[in-house]
């Protein structure tokens, strides 16, 4: 074995300890019952009405959030790319700045803002305007997801776009393409690796989150993440929690393989 291969040992140990073994444990728990006998029930439990509903809601909300992130990040990246290096990195910095604060704190801050008697409603009342009732709705969860995960969409797309040579855009204009045609035929296809990366990095954490739905959704809205969390923490049913986790992993793998088809070069792949 060469010396260089030895260098990978810390990582291999890390992988075994914190990825392989936990993953194996999830499969062991997920495919057995409390007595330790093999069963498929925990996985099949996803078909139960309340579980299926939570999974459906999770898929819907995380898809909507991913789409909103994409719609915000794409034009922003286009604008940033056109800027000179100094001012572009400043704007990127501003978008990354929230990530320096604790994830929980940021989400709790939104709760304070959105609450029935929160900051925003207090402000609206003072102006004699109609109060908003967004807290504890799916809308609040989507807002939290977009707010927290937007930088993960901006960075890969901006990265990919900044590699597009100016002369390629100019060539398209020169050959008669107007702004819309340049957008569809040049910008969009050349940004695909970044878009794929961004979707992966937003969709997966949004699908599995339970913190955002806990804080901004009250206890009324259960996402699949919340269901799994409760099985582990409140119901102490590790077998059912693991079984549902397996289902979620399968959903993630399916959606990723669909997305990966669009990324022919594999440049932007995040996994």
């Amino acid at each position: 074995m060469s010396d260089r291969k030895l260098l990978s040992f810390p990582y291999i140990i890390w992988m075994i300890g914190f990825t392989i073994i936990p993953l194996a444990l999830i499969f062991v728990f997920g495919l057995t019952d409390r007595s330790g006998a093999f069963t498929f029930e925990n996985v099949a439990a996803i078909a139960r009405a309340d579980h299926a509903k939570a999974l459906g809601l999770s898929l819907a909300l995380s898809s909507i959030s991913t789409l909103i992130c994409l719609l915000l990040a794409f034009p922003l990246s286009m604008i940033l790319r056109g800027k000179k290096l100094g001012s572009a990195s400043f704007v990127v910095f501003i978008f990354i700045l929230p990530m320096w604060m604790n994830f929980l704190l940021r989400t709790l801050a939104w709760q304070t803002l959105l609450e029935k008697n929160g900051v925003i409603n207090g402000f609206l009342t003072a102006l004699h305007l109609k109060n908003i009732a967004i807290i504890n709705t799916p809308g609040a969860i989507v807002l939290g997801m977009v707010y927290n995960f937007l930088p993960f969409m901006i960075l890969p797309i901006y990265n990919t776009m900044s590699k597009i040579d100016d002369s390629i855009i100019e060539a398209a204009r020169d050959l008669g393409a107007n702004f819309g045609q340049t957008l569809l035929r040049i910008w969009l296809p050349l940004s695909v690796p970044g878009i794929v990366s961004g979707i992966t990095m937003v969709f997966v954490p949004a699908l599995t989150t339970f913190v955002i739905s806990n804080i901004l959704g009250g206890s009324k809205i259960l996402l699949i993440g919340n269901v799994i969390e409760e099985e582990f923490t409140k119901a102490s049913n590790w077998n059912l929690g693991s079984g549902l986790s397996i289902v979620m992993m399968i959903f993630i793998l399916i959606s990723m393989s669909v997305i990966a088809k669009y990324d022919k070069n594999g440049e932007g792949a995040a996994f």
Partner: protein
């Protein structure tokens, strides 16, 4: 020469407060091959980008075939550009690249297929339709870029140092191919380069630029044989540029020796610059020369010997000759009168544009 195809009128352009083009005026007749030549930063690329529509001039107007197109975006202009870095679309096949402009215009499939075939034949890349852009060499990519531009049947083709990234042999081949294309298509070419040899080889008209001014505009012969000032003489080929005194019409004094020449009208006893091309310096027996000197340097260049002859005052004359002389040999310098080019001394570094058409 009928109405000009391109007429640049009083173009001013500055970037971040730095003047790049200062009152530039240029007319390009239809069906000509005009080369903008100059060192980097002379404003030649900016001029091209203003014609292409990628930059707006601060002041002045761009007239295309009698119509003011100063504010027209690039996609509305009847011209196409070939970029230095090829700028092929990496996500498209070669035929998709060539078809880009035609599909935008909504041409029929049959028309587009015919055009792709025709254009590939024109650039000698038949059968490359479905190849991947990234599998091509630099020269092939540039040919595709040219094909992509000419299928749109532009009236004017702008070429921004298109051969800059190619190696010498390929560059020379492409020069001939561009001349052939130009003659076959009968469209106007505006070509930007910093390579004087390329400019001399290909152009009908050369526009020598420096620091945002046109220094001289003329045929390659005029530019080479009758440079308007020391900058042009120095930029186009090797030359001996010597401070001299014009004694009177047709007689100039160089380093104390009197040389008959053919120029008139510079006045009497006036300081001037003299340009003598190295191949026009004749080395003769010491007693037959107008000036005497010693050979101080010899390099064999293949076609000729490149020599330095140092005269008594210490000036090193650059001489090209097919005859070899010995190191240290005393020689005489003779120059035929019509090979001496007299120029006014420039008033300042960035002298006003001198147009000599």
């Amino acid at each position: 020469m009928s109405t000009p195809l391109i007429d640049l009128q009083h173009i001013f352009k500055s970037f971040d407060g730095e003047m790049v083009l200062d009152d530039l005026n240029l007319t390009v007749p239809e069906n000509s091959f005009v080369t903008l030549l100059g060192p980097s930063g002379c404003g030649k690329t900016t001029t091209l980008r203003i014609i292409g529509g990628f930059e707006k001039p601060d002041k002045g107007s761009v007239i295309f075939d009698g119509n003011d197109i100063t504010l027209l975006p690039p996609n509305k202009r009847q011209l196409n550009t070939v970029f230095q870095k090829y700028a092929l679309f990496p996500h498209m096949s070669i035929s998709e690249n060539i078809a880009f402009g035609l599909t935008i215009r909504g041409k029929s499939r049959d028309y587009i297929d015919d055009k792709i075939k025709y254009a590939l034949k024109l650039v000698n890349l038949q059968g490359f339709e479905n190849r991947d852009v990234n599998s091509l060499s630099g020269g092939q990519q540039q040919r595709i870029a040219i094909a992509r531009a000419i299928v749109n049947e532009p009236r004017l083709l702008l070429l921004d140092e298109p051969l800059g990234a190619l190696d010498l042999k390929l560059r020379q081949d492409m020069q001939y191919e561009l001349i052939r294309l130009k003659n076959q298509l009968g469209i106007t070419f505006i070509y930007v380069t910093h390579d004087q040899e390329e400019a001399l080889t290909m152009s009908d008209t050369i526009v020598v630029m420096n620091q945002g001014y046109i220094q001289q505009m003329g045929t390659p012969e005029q530019i080479y044989n009758e440079p308007a000032n020391a900058f042009v003489a120095d930029f186009i080929g090797d030359s001996n540029i010597i401070g001299a005194t014009m004694l009177h019409d047709e007689l100039v004094e160089i380093f104390g020796a009197q040389f008959p020449c053919v120029d008139k009208g510079f006045g009497t006893n006036k300081p001037v610059d003299v340009v003598i091309r190295p191949e026009d310096v004749e080395l003769v027996k010491p007693e037959d020369g107008t000036l005497k000197g010693h050979v101080t340097h010899i390099i064999f260049k293949g076609v000729h010997y490149e020599m330095e002859v140092t005269t008594e005052n210490g000036y090193e004359w650059l001489v090209h000759s097919t005859k070899c002389f010995d190191m240290g040999q005393e020689v005489g310098i003779h120059v035929d009168p019509y090979n001496i080019q007299i120029m006014n001394k420039p008033a300042s570094e960035d002298e006003e544009a001198i147009v000599n058409v």
